[in-house]
Structures are given as C-alpha cells and as structure tokens.
Symmetry: C2
Subunit: 603 residues, 2 copies
C-alpha cells in the first residue's frame, strides 16, 4: 500500500516563512486574532485525518469502485468511505473555512487549500464529495436569497448534505450554450425541470442524507445560447421551508440513471442524472445562471489544480521511498554501498532527475497555490478596495494557471514517479498507477486545459491589454530590485528577469497576430500558459531560495538542512525545468498556419 | 468501440516511395524475386486480419483480463483470444518472416514490422503472445544446436508452440548480475533448474499446446555477476528428442504461481514462474547466456518501439474521427458550419495541435521503424560485408532510439488524443484510456527508457567515439548536399543541418565531461536520446517531404492530396515538435551537479 506523510514542514515554510500568511491576513478584521500556531495546529490535525482515515481506503476504493443498483437507482460508495465521511463531519471539518453564521469555523481559505492538498494526496475520489460541497456553499453565499441561505447553508456547512454542479449534457460539455434541460415555472414559485445531465461527480451516493444539485437549465422564454441559461437548486429530497405544495422531505424527481466506468477516480460516482419534472428553485437572476455557476466553477478550478498538487506530492513520496530502498546495479561513478550486493537506485542521476522533477513541481506548486488561496481571502475580506481589486485580479489571472499548469505537472510527475519503480510501478499493488489514472481527469474536468489556456491568453491577458499580467509583473520587478544585487541570488534572479522580458515581448507579439486572426490565439494558447506558468513558478522558487539563503547565512553550519535542500531543489528547477520555455516560445511563435493548413477531411 | 483502419497508403508510401524497400532488398539473394506487389498484398492481408480478428477482442480483452486458476495453476486468456490465435496459425502468419527451412515463408523483416504495427494498434495484449515467440525463434536460430533447431523451430514457426523470455526475479530486473536461479547439470546432459521468476509476459496461457521458456540461470561453478549467467530451454511440456530419461510430452516442473494485476495489457498474462527442479537444456555457451538473450532482447526492443507506434496510430485515428464528428462551440475566427448548432471541434487550433502531434510522431516513427527493419535484413543477409557492417552499426545505434523515443511518444500521444475527446476520453467505453494504460508499459519493459538512453549515449555513441553516429550523420550530410540548394527544401534542410551540428558539439561536450565524471553521462542521457531521436525524425521527415514535393512538382494541380498533406505535416513537425531540442539541449548541458547535490536521505 502506498505511504503518505503530510508535508507539514514544507507547508509551514510556505505559509509563514515565504508568504507570511498571518501578516497578510491580519489586516482583515475577520482574521484579526489569527496566529501561526492556530494555522499549524489545524494543518497538523487535518493531516492526521488524511493519513489515518483517507489513505487506508484509497487503494481499496479504487479496486472496488462505486456500485450502481438499478432497482433503487442508488449508488454505494466503496467500503470505508462512509465511515471516513462520518468522522469528517463529526470533527467539524466540512465547515473549516465556512461562515460562522451558518455553523462554520470561519478560518482562512489557505487552510482549506492545505487540507485539500492532503485529502487529494490520500484519496482524491473521496475528497471530491466534500470538495464540491464547499463550492456549492460558496454559490449559495454569493447568489442565494436569505431564505435559501438559511435553508441550505447550515446543512452544507455541517456536511449533512453534499452538493453537485450539473452542467454537462450528452451533446454539450465545453459549449454550454447548447444545453437543453428545461425549467418550467410553477404557480408556487418553484420550477419543474426536465432533461438529462452526464458526468455529474458525486451525483448520487450513500455518504450524506441529502444531495443539493445546482442545475443549469433554460426558462421557456430564454434567449438562445449562453445568455439564456439559469441556475436552479434541485435537492434530492425536498428541503424544509421550500414553500412548495409537496411534502418536505419527499423524494424529488431526479434520479441517477447509471454511473460511468472510468480510467480512474473509481471511488467517486460519475453519474448520469435524469430530471423528470424535478422540483427546483431559481438561484440568482434568470438567464444569469452561468455567472452564478462560475463562482462555483472558479473555486472548483482551484480545487482541481490542488488535486494535481496532491497527486504530485504523494507520487513523489512513494517513488522517493522506493528509490532509497531498492538496490539494483552500481553507480556509474563507482560503488556507493560496498556492504550491499548493489547500490540503492537513488545513486543514479536519472532516477534523481525523475524525483527532483516531481519534487520541484510539488514544492513550487504548493507556494503558488497557497499564495492564490491568500488572494482569495483578500479578495473577499480585505478592507482596502485597492488590495481587494489586486487580489481579485490575481485570482482571475491565476485560476487557469493553477488549474492547467498544476494538473499537467501532476499527471506528468505521477507518470515519472511510476517510472522510478520500473515494472513494479505498473503493478496495481504499489499504487503508483492509480495516481497516474486519477491524475488524468484533472486535466479535463472543470474546463479542459485547452480551455484554461484560452481563458488565460484571451480573457485574462489580451482582453485587458495585459493589465493583470503587468500587475503580477510588478511583483517580479519589485523582487528583482530588492534582490538583484545579491550575488548569491543571481542564478535565480537573472533567468527570472530574462523570462519576464520574454513573456512581455511574446504577449505583445501574439496580441498583434490575434488581432488580425483570432485563431492565432488558439494556436499559441497552450504553449503560452506553460510559459507563464514557469514565470510564476520561477518567481516563487526565487522567493523560496531567498528565504533559504537568508537562513543559511544567519545560521551558518548549524542551519537546518531543510534550507540547503531548498536551495538545491531551486537550482534544479531553474537549470532543468525552466528551460522548457525555450521550446515553448519557439512553438508559440511559429504561428497558427502550421495547425490550420491541413484540410479537416485529411485528418 | 474504437475504430481502426490499417494505414496502407502510408505504409506503401514509406516502403516504396521513401525507403525503396524492394531496391534495398533485391541485392540480397534471399529476396532476389521480391516485388512491391507481394509486399503490398501481404500487408493488406495482414491488415485485414488485425481489423477483423484482433480489434474486436481488444476492448473486451481489457475488461475481462486473464484469469488464473489456483488449482490447475493455469491461465485462461480473455474470450476470443484463442480463436484469433487459431486463425492466425491457420493462415500461416506466425512464420511470415521465419526461415523456409523450418516452415516459414522467409519474407523480409520489414513486413513483419508492418504487421506488428497493425497488431499493436488493434490488440497489444494479444500480439505479445506471438511477438515473443518470434524473438525466441531468432534466439534458437542464432544460438541453438542443429538438434535444438530441429526440435523447436518448426513448432515455433508454425505457432503451435509459443516462447517467453525469463529474466527478471523479484530482487533483480535491470541488474541481472544478481540473479539466483540455479541450474544443476544432470548425467544425461540436461539441467535441473530451481528458482523464481517474475514479470514473465505470456508465461502461461491457453493459446498454444506448449510454451518454450528461455530461462537465465547460474551454473554451480559460475562466476559472480553477469559473466556467470547461462541460458536454458525449459519447455512447459518436455519436447521430443530431448534425450532425457523422462516421458516426452510430460509436464515439466515449472508452473505459473500467479499473475499480476496491472495498469494495462490486461489480456496478456504477466506471470510469476516457479522453477522447481524443472528440466532444461543449455542453449549457447555456458556463462554466455546474456549474449544469447540479448539477441532476443534486441528484437524485443524493436518490437516494443513498434508497440509505441501502433498505439500512437490507433489513438490518432480515433481522436481524429471524434474531432471531425463532435460539434461543440464555434471557431475563434468565425462560424465554420452555419448549418449546424456548433462547429466540429476540428476547427480549433489546439485540437489540431494535439492531433498533428500524434500524426507527426506516428508517420515519422513509421518511416524510421521500417528503415530499421530493412537494416535488420541487410545486417543478416547482405552479401557485401561493408553493407552488412553498416546495417549492424545502424541497428545497434538505433535500437535504443526505437525503443525509448517511440514509446515515450506513443504514451504522450495516446494521452493527447484522449484529451481530444474531453470527458469522453476518460470513460472506458471510448477505448482511449486503454491505449494510454497499455502504452505506459512500453516505456518500462525490455529495459526502461532510462536504460535505453544510457545504452545509446554510453555504449552506442561514446564507447566507439561516435563512429556509428558519424556513419548515420553521413546519411544526413549526403541528403543535405543533394537537396540543400532546392529552395522549397530549405525549411526542412536548414533545421536538420543545424540540429546535426548541435548534436556533434553536444556529444563532444558530454563525452569530455563524462570522461572526468561518468555520472555526467547518466545526467544527460535521457535528454540526449530525445535530441538524437529528433535528429533521426527530422532526417526521415525531410526525406518524406522531398518525395512529396517532387510529386507535387510533377503532378501539379492533379496531385494526390496525400502529398500535400505530407508536406503540411512535415512543416508541423519542424515548426512545433523539433523545437523540443532547444530545451533538451539546455537541460543536457546543465551538468549533473544539480542532480547529485541533494543528499539521498533528503529525498
């Protein structure tokens, strides 16, 4: 069975030494009393929960999968999932970052992200049930009426009920403008919904007493396309105080028609949901459903990025343990373990390359994701409007990068780590191949990584003439000004500055081309996201190196080896991973002609 | 269910128009009567077999897998595998390239590779049973005594018996020097073998009446390490004329102790094999077993590379069909299908990028692999010693590139193609995720891709001071001299020449560094293989472009669109894929310090 140790030391390093989370959050009245010890204690408790309750049922959950019972149209989750969920609720974990008004603990988003990371390392399929619930709660908070908040938020915050997002239909995923599910207004203010949804994660299960579906559908008089989509609350069992002439607690007319057989995340039920005159209530404004759904979607995209991080981390830990232990062959530069019949494979340069790749992406991704989580808090709760605006801009800019860059890396690193185990990595019992299978979905759902790259380049960068990108660039230039003269920082600052310049030029170049031919944006977007992703990681790796070098200088020989290792991994990142940008820039600049020239019928 | 159409047009283009297979083979007395029509007819018949018998049982074979019966220690293959194998034997396919002396048809190796490609596209798990048998037959041919050849080759050539390679033991895979299986000589000239093997592909099954295991083991007086390993023939049922005082046809003392549960290739039984005083016979010289096994291993490595090609091709075909058919969203540059509610996703630049990536690697790989297959024929059968030597050098140089470059590409392309289908790609019913799962093993078995890269850089390039690489470089410079002045070829010839220069410099640089510190080779090897792989593909893509451009010039507007498409894909390759070398060269040159610095205990 795979191992996992929650990465507390690195989480604390990132939160406190690199990002200064407490200092960032203190100015928010909501977090005036926050201190580092509280953050650390919560993370450690959360880590224990993941190690003790989620990890043990991850591999078995994959093997067993969810089962669908045709007669009752119900889904059974794998053995142990229900107990883990009950323990999760009993300990109050669902409301960690939830509003105190509705029973939550009102702790900062960065804690939630740290917890997510560990949940996804230990059991992504399980963690998707509560994960989507938090997104649903956020949607209620921002778009629900007072009555709706009062009915749904306490139950979602306690975990008694879970939530889903019902968007996709068989003929439309990315293109929601085509969706067909209809909602007919009823005299009592409710709606009757009819249609079929697919790929509904956590759509039906046995963990909670009720499931609150947030369903996209069309009103009878709705305009065509995405401007005619509204969002509805459709609970599995009718909720109290709904004002409907139906028995509260009655089973609603939406049922799971079957579950998908997938490459991975077997323990999460991916449901076909049939709405057969189901009762629902409008949430938010009519025809503005996509806006409301995007609140949830953006939260989900951050969550998915962290899924990439979680799998990246756990795959690394298992491959590293194997590489230290497995003896096979001798080092090219001479015997390293003369007392053994062979050297541990960690002596081999390429085994280290695979491991360091996963480690550098995990640690860089952790710093980045936790920073974005802090931005989420600032965006919602900072008293200063300028800070709020800056945080909102950063959230908008970074969401597609978190989603796509971190999930690409998560999949690739899981696969590299599988490779460290050789043939054993391919065998189920070692658990590595599950990480690879689970990781592949993260590049797809909540908007494919291609969609993320178009969102980044088109909507987040070109549409505001690069204003958000410049705001982030200002952080980089400030950092370079502060640290550029220190000789020990030059190996990090020089390539960071160089890449910053290149991104500026590339953005202008693509912008000009795309103005003449919008397809040029489509042809450059995926490369562009990888390039900007590296700019972001280079910035956070430089910041981490700075902190570590400062401690090395201060503590001399007695320095905690953690800091020396951090500088070593930073160096690896800059010398071995950042160079990906050289190829990506060439490819992005090559123009869209080489993609569009082949006639469709020739494919 | 996934689709597949055998790529006859492209296979013929490669064999005849690009490589001139018949012209290359004609000087070999063995192939004096060969003509293009024969090659084409055989490929088309072989393709039909794959489409009609293998494809239909590929997905069901994955779902069902092999089953192990503890009581009888036997393995049942999935439904339909046995019938397909019987039809395969009845049609004489096992002996396609086998020696006529033993019942084979004596056709060239390039036909075998073309057939393999289609088998692996349609059912890799199934194709591994006969695939390993061909390797075993080759081993008998080169290392067996006349008696052994007479006993085993007719049955292996007819497919009545299948073969395996038994190398790996639980504690040793890559490092065969540690293997422990013992062989004790008996008075009658046979040996008694005792030990445990794992990861034995096709080790036990119900397709054939007998299984001939080629087993690595140690003689009692054998030197330690790899120089004390011998190779033994250990048939499941004792073979006729073996000269042993045991009943011919008696069950031998080696049994399957269980099968592995794997990420993919579920239809192929990966067996734990226990040898409990099994009767075996030495093949080849005592203590020279690794040499003999490497005959089979090198053939297997070429086969595995072609597995990468096969999956690359079939994944491409399915993703392309989906992209032409699936409507979703509108083109960024304006509506393309006004009569439909959305445009087919093939209008999107990034969908095309994913598809073209897979196509360019498939078509480049096909030209490369078929050329290597021709080298195999030249190596064994060319009357001219110089040509023989050249072909042997090319085989040695290219084997690790076929194995590693093509399987890396196969996995990555299968994953990209899965992405084209979005959420549907992740669902089992579409078959794409099976291609990804099956493709992952190809990067591992028959020597991991890291081992291949060390073989290329260390043994095949640095150890002979780059002589083999220079011999291949001569082909490139000859091509450039012939075509460098044609303006329409400059977009291909210029980057090819540039990369050739860079490879020369890089090789020298790494060689110097590795002389001082052998770990430097280990730290650069994987990047180096990718770089040389691109040099090889750039050469074959330039050759293909040349042929296509010549036809376009000759035929004008009436030219078969196939040739225009070929030039378009060539351009895509040079502008979008070849630039990977820019990053790889930086990484390779960064030196091994960034890999070796982190203490083992810090991982």
């Amino acid at each position: 069975m795979p191992i996992y140790k929650a990465p507390f030391r690195d989480q604390q390093f990132v939160m406190h030494e690199v990002l200064g989370a407490v200092e960032m959050l203190k100015p928010l009245p909501r977090y005036a009393d926050l201190d580092a010890d509280t953050l650390n204690q919560v993370v450690e408790e959360a880590g224990k929960f993941c190690e003790e309750l989620l990890l043990p049922v991850n591999q078995s959950g994959d093997a067993e999968g969810c089962t669908y019972d045709v007669a009752s149209r119900s889904v059974k989750t794998p053995r142990g999932f229900k107990d883990a969920y009950a323990a999760f609720c009993a300990a109050g974990w669902p409301g960690l970052a939830g509003e105190t008004e509705y029973g939550g603990q009102g702790l900062p988003h960065v804690l939630q992200i740290a917890f997510y990371e560990m949940q996804y390392s230990t059991n992504q399929a399980w963690a998707m049930y509560p994960g989507l619930t938090i997104g649903a709660a956020e949607c209620f908070l921002l778009h629900g009426s007072e009555e709706q908040k009062n009915i749904y938020l306490p139950k979602l915050t306690s975990g008694q009920w879970t939530g889903t997002m019902c968007l996709t239909e068989p003929h439309c995923g990315t293109d929601l403008g085509m969706l067909r599910t209809r909602a007919e207004p009823q005299a009592d203010g409710s709606y009757r919904l009819t249609g079929a949804k697919i790929f509904i994660s956590s759509g039906e299960h046995d963990l909670a007493e009720n499931i609150v579906h947030l369903v996209l559908a069309r009103l009878p008089d709705a305009p065509q396309g995405t401007k005619g989509i509204s969002l509805f609350i459709v609970p599995k069992f009718l909720a109290e105080g709904s004002g409907v002439d139906a028995k509260v607690g009655a089973r609603n007319g939406l049922y799971c028609g079957g579950i998908e057989h997938k490459m991975g995340i077997h323990g999460n039920a991916t449901c076909q949901m049939n709405l057969d005159g189901a009762t629902g209530w409008l949430i938010g404004q009519p025809n503005k459903g996509l806006n409301a759904m995007f609140t949830m979607m953006n939260g989900a995209r951050l969550g998915v990025g962290v899924q990439g991080l979680g799998l990246n981390e756990v795959a690394y830990q298992n491959a590293a343990a194997y590489a230290r232990d497995r003896i096979q062959g001798r080092s090219l530069s001479g015997v390293k373990a003369p007392d053994k019949p062979a050297d541990p494979i960690i002596v081999h340069a390429d085994v280290r390359r695979m491991l360091l790749t996963a480690r550098a992406y995990a640690e860089g991704g952790r710093a980045f994701a936790y920073w974005v989580a802090l931005m989420a808090d600032l965006q919602f709760h900072h008293p200063d409007e300028l800070q709020k605006k800056f945080a909102a801009d950063m959230m908008a800019l970074m969401t597609p990068i978190v989603k796509a860059f971190m999930t690409d890396n998560g999949f690739n690193c899981a696969s590299e780590c599988l490779g460290v185990l050789g043939g054993h990595g391919y065998i189920r019992e070692w658990g590595m191949e599950q990480f690879v299978r689970d990781a592949r979905i993260n590049m797809i759902y909540e908007g494919t990584n291609t969609i993320q790259s178009l969102d980044l380049l088109g909507r987040k960068v070109l549409m505001d003439n690069g204003a958000r990108l410049k705001a982030f660039g200002k952080l980089i230039t400030d950092f370079i000004e502060e640290n550029g003269t220190a000789s020990e920082m030059s190996e990090f600052v020089t390539p960071l500055a160089d890449l910053g310049d290149k991104v500026t030029k590339l953005t202008t170049e693509i912008g000009m081309k795309a103005f003449a031919n919008p397809d040029e944006a489509g042809g450059a977007a995926v490369d562009y996201l990888r390039i900007v992703g590296h700019l972001v990681y280079a910035y956070f790796w430089a910041r981490m190196a700075k902190v570590a070098l400062t401690r090395i200088k201060a503590d001399g020989d007695r320095v905690d080896p953690f800091y020396r290792d951090k500088v070593t991994v930073a160096r690896f990142y800059f010398e071995r991973l950042l160079p990906e940008t050289a190829s990506r820039i060439r490819s992005a600049r090559s123009g869209v002609k080489n993609l569009m020239e082949l006639p469709a019928e020739s494919f």
